[in-house]
């Protein structure tokens, strides 16, 4: 039995469709991360699961029970908010025990649950403090503790780490993953940070404009994105996209010519391409090779900027008429990621090369029609 079942859920605000026909099944014990750009509907979807937003149509089931019309407190969920949303006038212990108190549980039971949660989150020393006296990381721990004491069927997290600084965020990420392993509970986590999605999720749900673009394991989405949006959203630095036209098509093979006359031949397409079709070629920054002869596809460029990240180098290269769309540089420059430190002079001429088998091909409507040949699967 699925832990959370979302069936044909729609959410309309007047003529604005915040959620469009969402269908999703979350298994018991899964850590599902919903990710997407701001305004994609991920927070709205989480709030409809929580019951803080009503659905326009569709059904929500938690552990097989229809909760669509139930109050949030009756759904067997607990939620952690981005703003922590701790009751400012209550102590840490009172905050964590409030849900059980509202449920009318005896004090001994509440104290035991609070003590257990405090132990898991190392908050034993802080129980008598007020939220105001605590740091951001500690407050978020209390908010998580408040969720744990309710022993919910499903934990909901709404961008819980966004208000923390980078170092603390990494630490809390590890703690949350550990917590999930310890509790084994179903968790649904919303974030706009794809690193959080990639590192924590057992499955990722990519949302865009109120629709689910793709659902899958992090590695699956990374290597087999269903469309241009998912390919561009996951991965940092972002994938390079070059638009081109199909000039030759035969069966499952096609030859594409891009601006500047760069030709790319691809085979094993999932569907035949039509001559004259406008397509997009995608290539991950780590698959671009700089000044490395022997590749099938190569073109010249000029170094715009070099970033040294300690163990790798990010290179932005202008390639004349051949420009990328929507890449990290925002200027049409190609992004290359080199797994070592290599010095480059700004404005120095370089050659860029990639293998056709590392390239993605997207149809005019954004669907993926060719992916790189699968490497070893985990």
């Amino acid at each position: 039995m699925a832990s959370v079942e979302i069936q044909n859920v729609q959410k309309h605000y007047g003529s604005f469709h915040a959620l469009n026909d969402i269908n999703l099944s979350v298994e018991e014990g899964e850590f599902v991360v919903m990710v997407g750009p701001s305004g994609c509907g991920k927070s709205t979807l989480l709030k409809t699961i929580a019951g803080l937003e009503t659905v326009t149509s569709g059904q929500l089931l938690i552990k097989g029970r229809d909760v669509t019309r139930l109050e949030p407190g009756d759904r067997g969920i607990a939620m952690v908010f981005q703003s922590y949303a701790l009751y400012p006038h209550m102590t840490v212990a009172e905050n964590m025990g409030f849900g059980l108190r509202m449920a009318g549980r005896p004090k001994t039971q509440i104290d035991a649950a609070v003590a257990r949660a405090a132990k898991i989150l190392r908050l034993e020393e802080q129980l008598d403090k007020k939220p105001k006296q605590m740091s951001g990381g500690q407050r978020q721990r209390v908010a998580i503790g408040r969720a744990i004491t309710r022993s919910p069927d499903v934990f909901l997290f709404d961008e819980p780490l966004s208000n923390l600084d980078a170092a603390l965020r990494t630490q809390m990420r590890v703690e949350l993953s550990t917590l999930h392993a310890e509790l084994g509970s179903t968790m649904i986590y919303v974030t706009h940070d794809q690193v959080e999605a990639m590192t924590m999720a057992s499955r990722i749900v990519v949302l865009n404009r109120g629709r689910i673009e793709q659902v899958g394991t992090p590695l699956d989405l990374y290597s087999n994105p269903a469309n241009l949006f998912v390919a561009g959203f996951l991965g940092a630095p972002r994938m390079n996209f070059v638009t081109g036209k199909v000039v030759e098509a035969q069966g499952r093979s096609a030859r594409i010519v891009c601006a500047g006359g760069l030709g790319v031949a691809l085979d094993d397409l999932v569907q035949p391409a039509a001559i004259g079709e406008a397509v997009t070629i995608g290539i991950r920054p780590e698959k671009l090779r700089i000044n490395d002869a022997g590749s099938a596809i190569a073109f010249g460029g000029q170094v715009r900027l070099t970033e040294y990240l300690g163990r790798e180098t990010i290179l932005y290269v202008d390639a004349g008429d051949l420009v990328t769309t929507g890449s990290d540089s925002g200027t049409g420059a190609f992004t290359a990621q080199i797994g070592e430190i290599r010095p480059f002079q700004t404005a120095a001429p370089v050659s860029i090369a990639f293998d056709a088998r590392d390239a993605y091909l997207f149809a005019a409507d954004g669907r993926t029609i060719s992916s790189p040949k699968p490497v070893a699967r985990l």
Partner: protein, 279 residues
């Protein structure tokens, strides 16, 4: 620099005038002629004056009944804050008494209470009864005046609470709902704690409003009948302006000032305490 003009004006008009009032209270003075030092005799006379105790009692009635304003204002604000159609118009209707000058409110209520053509007599007449002449009954008159003054005071508290309700944290309400709080527990544990500061301001303003009540008494009853509806502020005004006893009036003002000072001290203490906690 920015507060200097205000501070200067405050210093001259308020502080100096207050000090002068205390000074004048030790004299016998008709306002124009020679001032004659009488020491504490104004106060001695005051504490023997039956009228003073009537005023003091009436001030206490004002204070007690005015305490209804914050809870009633809060209740109305919670009601008006519901997402029901037409509430915007309702809200603006509730602002009306705030727009009216209190003198106007007094005059309007005098009409309402009028035993021959007032709204009250109409209502009583509908049930076949005769309306009591509230404003000329020495037992009811203060309650009738306070009821009139409560109207704008409730509206004022309502506006304060509405503003407070607009500032509620949506996430906190959400957290409360997830924790299963609804109805009274939600109001008590989640909403009201967030309205603490607003409630405090509403309470303080109401206390001070009750103590300095003057205009409604002046307009509706002039303290009558037989001085049964006077309050300290009105008695002070009457003694000073109509009876030319500025020294005696100043003594009343000083007593009123002392009573107010107690509340203001409490107000400032409570106001400053959370700031120290935060430091």
């Amino acid at each position: 620099m920015f507060i200097l003009p205000g501070a200067l004006l405050f210093g001259i008009v308020i502080i100096l005038a207050s000090l002068q009032t205390v000074w004048v209270s030790f004299f016998d003075w008709d306002g124009v002629g020679e001032m004659q030092w009488v020491g504490l005799s104004n106060y001695v006379q005051l504490f023997d004056d039956a009228q003073f105790y009537v005023s003091l009692k009436n001030n206490l009635i004002w204070l007690g009944m005015f305490m209804l304003a914050p809870p009633l204002g809060l209740a109305l604000a919670l009601l008006l804050n519901q997402p029901i159609g037409g509430m915007r118009i309702m809200k603006s209707l509730f602002f009306v008494p705030l727009v009216l000058a209190s003198v106007t409110v007094g005059v309007v209520f005098t009409w309402v209470y009028d035993p021959s053509f007032g709204l009250l007599s109409l209502i009583f007449g509908y049930f076949g009864a005769t309306a009591p002449a509230l404003l000329s009954d020495e037992h009811f008159v203060t309650f009738a005046v306070v009821a009139a003054a409560l109207w704008p005071q409730i509206a004022f508290c309502l506006v304060l609470f509405l503003a407070g309700l607009n500032n509620l944290s949506e996430d906190l309400i959400g957290a409360g709902r997830v924790d299963g709080a609804r109805g009274w527990p939600m109001l008590w544990h989640v909403v009201l704690p967030q309205l603490r500061e607003v409630s405090f301001i509403a309470l303080a303003v109401t206390v001070i409003g009750a103590l300095r009540s003057f205009d409604m008494v002046a307009v509706m009853t002039s303290g009558g009948p037989f001085g049964s509806s006077t309050v300290l502020a009105y008695q002070m005004y009457e003694q000073s302006i109509f009876s030319y006893r500025f020294g005696y009036g100043a003594a009343i003002a000083t007593v009123l000032f002392v009573i107010m000072a107690v509340f203001i001290a409490w107000y400032l203490r409570t106001l400053l305490k959370p700031e120290q906690e935060n430091a």
